[in-house]
Amino acid sequence: MEIICLQENLKKGLNITERIIGKNLTLPILNNILISVEKSSIKLCSTDLEIGINCEISGKIIKQGAIAIPAKVLTSFINNLPNKKVQLKTKDNKLMIKCENYKSQIKGFSSEEFPIIPKIKSEPILKINKDILRTGLSQIVEITAISESRPEISGIYMKFEKESIKTAATDSFRLAEKIINDVDIASINENEIIIPKRTVVELIRILQDDDIGNVELVLNQNQVLFNLNNVQIISRLIEGKFPDYTQIIPKEFQAQVITNKQELINNIKLASFFSGKANEVKLSILPSKSLVELSSEDADVGSHKSSLPAKIQGKPIKISFNYRYLLDGLNNIFSDKVIISIGKEAGKTLITSVGDESYKYIVMPIKA
């Protein structure tokens, strides 16, 4: 194998593929990146046997071939080279790197040992603008719980509908639903899937790259493929059934509060310094005064109280929340005003933005 390409291109490709590589002790070959050069393409591949990433980079191909090189060494080395032409050439199981007046050799492994990343040949079931997908997924992904006892909620739920994707995530204390619109859906055969959180995190990260165009989604036998032109992300899907979450979205409310989002966030942050171990911040909703009072108290630190004006319908309520859970919801709302609706049943609280119905965040309170 012999190629010449720009340091910049190589670096970008390595950074996309390298992230999913952890430290695998049982199968050390997984700590490598596979550089595979075929007739007309240079591909970088990485996998942890759950996710696989293929990334095509541009460069001049002199000789075909392939080699697996330890990811950490290669990536850090290439990152620090000047942005000039880099020549990569294999000799036995070594990779010779030449760039300006630098010459180095990195020991690698035969490409034969590197796992084969499955190929998915089915037709894409949908096409979507990458920014819409990225924004939508990043609004909910953080909420997902990594839980071994409940694998079905340790991923992002996706349901394909006529012109939209319904996505949801939960850790059983709160739940976020985002409806992603403007999707070009070709067929909806298998219309519900659960994608592991890590896959979605990687996808979001890679989607930040400007070079990437639209995204195609392909499904096949509990695998999913995100095709982003030069980059392909293949992942297993989580088996199981996502809970029927629609029934937990409260429909009847004790009170509804409309207030300025940024002010509320600031108030919660201030109160959080006194919230103690339980992260507990108390909200008093006072319809008669059109005020929301926030208070927190910690035996060791001190106490705090603040209030902010709000439009309130309903009856006066006192309710406590983990302030992190509140912020996680509020930070994913993009409008100036936010609606907080406190449900009738067990104080389930719905946070939505004014004017955008595609995002819903539901959080459970702390027991009073």
Binding site: T26, L27, P28, T47, L49, E50, G52, P115, I116, I117, P118, K119, I120, S149, R150, P151, I153, T170, S172, F173, L175, Q221, N222, Q223, I234, R236, E239, G240, K241, F242, P243, D244, Y245, Q247, I248, A278, E280, N322, A346, G347, K348, I362, M364, P365, I366, K367
Partner: protein, 449 residues
């Protein structure tokens, strides 16, 4: 040699030929699914395994299998199998200190709708429910054969739902492959309405006709809903003919559910009817003890006795009182003493009795027996009117402590001796007739709703 043994022997040989990490990574969680006409199908957990085994170990696997079973000529790989079968969910003890609330709904099994917290081992049995419990256990042992349908009835908060779900969970434990569906009749109705409006009747029908065990809670809510009754009737028949177990609960016996189609009623009565009545004091204490144990909490006997003797009708209220005590104890950190408990529970136990009046009683009685309120008052002496009228008299006397002449006057100017006769008759009958007692309790529930 069975497929399982064959594959196990093959794996034993393969293990010798490949390195340990490779063996663990690629061969763990595989199984020989099928062997037919020389083609062996091997199940693998994911695409990576499939590609790797197909490309790197095909010959090795083929050779090994051929040695053991010469008819194998080809190997195919398929993704799937039961490798992800969930490990038995360890019921995490709900630590009471965990103050952050969770979405309760998530504990419910999405396939069956059953909540795993309802089990037989936490179902307290007493004379008031032993028949129902025994019938339930019998049902889990002889699915669809012994008592089909099993019809359980009893008042609010006495454990019907617990029993039904416990039966469901027990069946699921014993026969994991059986398809169980638990739902309330209300949900059935709303799904039916949904199916009707979205033209999804076919899938609705097959959905319920394909289950092995159908458990319907609170069936009395389908009273008066004709289309639901019709659909349920067909579902019921289809399942019953195939000897699929059906379990139903209601707040009263089938014949007391007014506006229930006769054909349904007779079918409900065709199996076993078991009632759950109110628990006695000892059972109530036993229930409280079970609950405190479940919550990992210790409360002294005299407090439990106090709660049990003051809340007598409803198990849910018992639990509510207990929860209240535990929470306030944790918030204030005070020692639990009887006087403290009395103070905390004062507004539950001595809450002012909801007042009622004779009009409300008459209304409820008329509604319950599905007759006109004027029929209670007029002079007609038809049998089907006389009984409700006597019940009304009895209730007014019992609940309002009204005088006999007053009752007589309000019920169509009858003589006070008529009223005395009615009251005595009903109170005597109650003692012998369980059904009548049930009726009276139900009417009372309605009055104080």
């Amino acid at each position: 040699m069975t497929l399982k043994q064959l594959w196990k022997t093959a794996l034993g040989e393969i293990e010798l030929c490949v390195s340990k990490p490779n063996f663990i990574t690629w061969f763990k969680n595989t199984e020989l699914k099928n062997k037919k006409e020389g083609i062996a199908i091997i199940n693998v957990p994911n695409g990576f395994n499939k590609e790797w085994l197909q490309n790197k170990y095909y010959n090795l696997i083929l050779k090994t299998l051929k040695n053991l079973s010469p008819d194998v000529k080809e190997i195919q790989f398929a993704i799937g199998g039961n490798f992800f079968q969930k490990t038995e969910k360890t019921q995490e003890k709900e630590a009471i200190k965990e103050e952050q609330l969770e979405f309760e709904e998530f504990h419910i099994d999405p396939e069956t709708n059953l909540n795993p917290k309802y089990r037989f081992d936490n179902f307290v049995v007493g004379s008031f429910n032993e028949l129902a419990q025994a019938a339930g256990i019998a049902v889990t042992k002889h699915l669809g054969k012994l008592y089909n349908p099993l019809f359980v009835y009893g008042g609010v908060g006495l454990g019907k739902t617990h029993l039904l779900q416990a039966i469901g969970n027990e069946i699921k434990r014993k026969y994991p492959s059986k398809k169980i569906k638990y739902l309330s009749s209300e949900k059935y109705t709303s799904e039916l309405v949904d199916a009707l409006s979205k033209k999804g009747m076919e899938s609705f029908k097959t959905k319920y006709r394909k289950v092995d065990i159908l458990i319907v809670d609170d069936i009395h809510f389908i009273a008066g809903k004709e289309k639901t009754q019709e659909e349920f009737f067909h579902t019921f028949n289809t399942l019953h003919q195939q000897n699929k177990q059906i379990i139903i609960s209601a707040d009263r016996p089938p014949k007391a559910i007014s506006t229930l189609a006769d054909r349904l009623r007779s079918r409900f009565e065709g199996g076993m009817i078991a009632d759950i009545s109110s628990p006695d004091l000892e059972t109530r204490i036993a229930i409280l003890k079970a609950k405190t144990k479940e919550k990992n909490f210790e409360i002294s006997e005299d407090i439990l006795h106090y709660i049990a003797s003051n809340i007598s009708k409803n198990i849910r209220e018992l639990e509510g009182a207990l929860n209240r005590l535990i929470v306030s104890h944790q918030l204030n950190g005070k020692e639990l003493s009887l006087s403290y408990a009395k103070k905390i529970l004062s507004n539950i136990i001595s809450k002012p009795k909801t007042f009622t009046n004779f009009k409300k009683i008459l209304n409820c009685v008329a509604e319950f027996y599905d007759i006109d309120i004027n029929d209670l008052i007029n002079k007609c002496r038809k049998k089907e009117l006389v009984h409700p009228r006597q019940v009304a008299m009895y209730l007014i006397r019992e609940e309002l402590k009204a005088s006999y002449p007053f009752i007589g006057e309000k019920l169509g100017n009858r003589d006070h001796t008529t009223v005395i006769y009615a009251c005595e008759k009903i109170s005597k009958q109650i003692q012998d007739d369980n059904n009548l007692q049930q009726e009276i309790n139900l009417i009372k529930e309605r009055i104080y709703q």
